[in-house]
């Protein structure tokens, strides 16, 4: 009988939610023993559950500590799959690394295991790999490809520097992870030699063959710009000023200073890749996260407006912030509509 994978994923989520390492690893191993392909265990049980963990954190159902515990257990489970099924390498060498500052190691770890299952000799360098360390590794070990993971779009400038550095020493780069955009647009913009949306697609892409040497590119990618440089340099002052202004304005129920920092980071990343949707998507997402924590979207509207006022010498940033304000206002309006709807339709609610 073929095990029911969605049911297994639910059971798995329950176990990692309790940080039950033995239970979760036991489940994973028994699925393998029952004949579930290791790739399915990695991608349809573990990865699926991890994305669900994200949703539970977003909606404030799981505190951050529970999310961390669950992820740690998943790391063990991924390692257990690798220890259980590991075909001898029959293809070339790949090194998998996360961009500098990128701490989402698990997605890249899963990619590493999938590549190993497909016969690649894959090494995983872990989270947040500093450029000099990666390049030293490339010289020493001479892999055929670097698979570079980036989950947070805010790490794109650093990912770009790494892509260029790998290519400069003659190793092509396969980019992947949510940070490069759902359609991989930032991977292309930043000059990666290839991009893959998922771990299995990454294996297919490698199998179809990458050039042995990055192709010569004409001219530099059009990224960054004067305002980007200015914002990167003055990020700290900017965030402090916005925080101070918000404090003076007696913001109702404010978010954290951290939230202001993230807003600045996504603004900077959007400026880097010249794409407003990177910023507005984040604004919409963060409004949802804050709402779940009883911080109204008006806080985001206000915070973005203060950013815009402070940045009066940066027309491009201001335009982005205006789009952000509009996105946050939409969230706020949607919320009010829903409230009105709930009020009208739930006569018995307390």
């Amino acid at each position: 009988m073929i095990p029911d994978l969605p049911a297994a994923a639910r059971r798995y989520l329950e176990l990692i939610g309790r940080a039950d390492e033995e239970g979760a690893v036991g489940l994973v191993v028994s699925l393998l023993d029952e004949g579930v392909p290791a790739e399915d265990v990695l991608l349809r049980v573990i990865a699926t559950s991890q994305r669900r963990v994200g949703e539970l954190w977003e909606s404030d159902e799981w505190p951050v500590a529970r999310e961390h515990g669950a992820t740690k257990v998943s790391e063990r489970a991924v390692a257990a799959v690798g220890a259980h099924v590991r075909p001898a390498p029959s293809r070339g060498r790949v090194v998998v690394a996360c961009a500098d500052g990128e701490y989402h190691a698990l997605p890249a770890h899963i990619v590493t295991e999938v590549l190993r299952l497909r016969g690649w000799h894959a090494d995983f360098l872990g989270a947040s790999v500093p450029g000099p360390q990666l390049i030293t590794y490339l010289h020493r070990e001479g892999p055929d490809v670097v698979a570079l993971g980036c989950t947070l779009a805010t790490r794109l400038p650093r990912a770009h520097a790494l892509i260029a550095a790998c290519q400069a020493v003659g190793v092509p780069v396969l980019a992947g992870g949510a940070g490069f955009g759902a359609d991989g647009r930032y991977a292309r913009l930043l000059g990666a030699d290839a991009w893959a949306p998922t771990a299995d697609a990454a294996a297919d892409r490698l199998a179809s063959g990458l050039p042995s040497f990055p192709s010569a590119r004409e001219g530099a990618a059009r990224v960054g710009g004067e305002e980007y440089v200015y914002l990167t340099r003055h990020r700290a002052e900017l965030v402090s000023r916005v925080a101070a202004t918000l404090k003076e304005a007696h913001t109702p129920e404010g978010g954290h200073d951290d939230d202001l920092g993230y807003i600045a980071d996504y603004l900077i990343a959007a400026m880097y890749v010249h794409d407003a949707s990177l910023f507005t998507d984040y604004v919409t997402w963060t409004c949802g996260v804050l709402l779940a924590r009883k911080v109204p979207a008006e806080f985001v509207v206000l915070a973005l407006s203060v950013f815009r006022d402070v940045l009066n010498d940066c027309p491009r940033a201001q335009a982005l912030l205006s789009e952000g304000v509009a996105a946050a206002q939409m969230c706020s309006a949607a919320r009010q509509q829903r409230r009105a709807f709930d009020a009208g339709h739930a006569p018995f609610s307390g």
Partner: protein, 523 residues
Amino acid sequence: MKWATGSADPCHRAVSPGLMAALLEHSREGVVVCDADGVVTLANPAAVRLAPRLEPGLPLPAPLDSVLSAPEARVVTHDGRQIQVRAEELGEGRIAWYLTAETSRRTEFLLEAARRLAASLNPHRCARAAAELGTRFLCDAAVVFLPPASGRRIEWIRVVPGRSGPDEGAVPAAAAAEVPGLTDALAGLREDVAGRQDPGGTPDWLLPEGFGPVGHLLVLPLPGNSVSAGALVLARRAGRPSFDEDDQGMAYDLATRAGAAISAACLFRDQSTVNGILTGDLLPPDLPEIEGMRLAGRLRASQQAGAIGGDFYDVYLPESGPVERPPLVILGDVCGKGARAAVLAGQVRHSLRTLLLMESRPERLLELLNRSLLASPSPHSYVTLILAALRTAPGGHVQVDLAVAGHPPPLVLRRDGTVEEVAVRGSLLGALQKISLWPATVDLAPGETCLLYSDGITEAFGGPSGREMFGEERLRRALASCAVMPVDALVERLEQLSTDWLRGGQQDDRALLAVRAGRGASR
């Protein structure tokens, strides 16, 4: 084509003969027209520049006349110059030839060789690049032999277009000797400047099955840093033209450049191997499994390429011997950064290992270490250190006997999420003849954690303003938020919060080591 008017027969209205002549005059592309008899009726200046023997009224010179009309251009050599030629039938037997200068193969080769061979410091990648350049510009199969690293076997990398990737292997010197001229080439000797060898002598193993008979063979030494950097073998199938003078010149260039690249790469490889051996002991150890508790540690060196620095931790499991003692963990910080600090840190770890053969009392160990540091010939051998002996106690408890020398005292995370600083103090090592110590013992109930850290964590400057210190208070709060996490998640989270705080700014070495009582999950 676009015309200014929508006329059905635009040519006659838009382009007068005068204009047509001017257009041809200034075109960068050479244009030649012949009549049905193959006599040139028109050749614009660009065409004459490219092919000086073109003369209106005379037949089209060879080898242009050999180009038949086709959509693809062909490259021909005319007076030693490479020209791209495309022919087009114009009707009534007339034919037009369009000529452009072919960027010389040699120029292209030099550019490509520079780009590819300068990139890597890895001998295999360089060898592969050289073989790929060979097949792209010169031959049907290229094999690079690398100088034997460890004595006996000689590694080779072979590229044959149409195969999925390069093939690699290694042969004993005796087999290498079967390839004509290879032994000499590997020794840096050349019989023939061009490196021509008898293709009949090629052994079967040199080329993939189905390659077919070899018609032409070049075997060249790769000149290195006064010693050989290997050899390059280039083969063309039987029936292909032989390597002409141009080809031989390019092969020579390729070998020279590849030799320089490979020898630099070998130098780097040798140095980094030595470096790896020397620094191997300086890296943090893998943390062992210890019954009744769990350990997790993280170390980040400020020097990112070397991954070593002045912060260190280590674990000393009990050994059979005269001294009976529980497992011991240490975490410390040597004054300074980088390799120099790492060497001293390594000495401290090693000294402790030796001292532990005779002594187990933490205070005594620190006193002995202090004396050995004072006796050290290098100045400023200051070290801060925590020693923690880990004793299991009934009920899944762990008793931690702490001695601290000039180091921030550890923090304890209790089951209810409160964080305490352990009241334990002591003086820095390596500065004063006499040190004072106030040791302490902490009891950890199952699930409770004792965290050792270095000041690189608390003294990290960054944060929203970029100028704020992370501080102990923030570390305590961060630790408190980790109450229910597995201990390795806890350490990872603290490291990530610290890295986020730094925001890529200037950093010190940072070390974290946590001991959690009890096994497995915390809840």
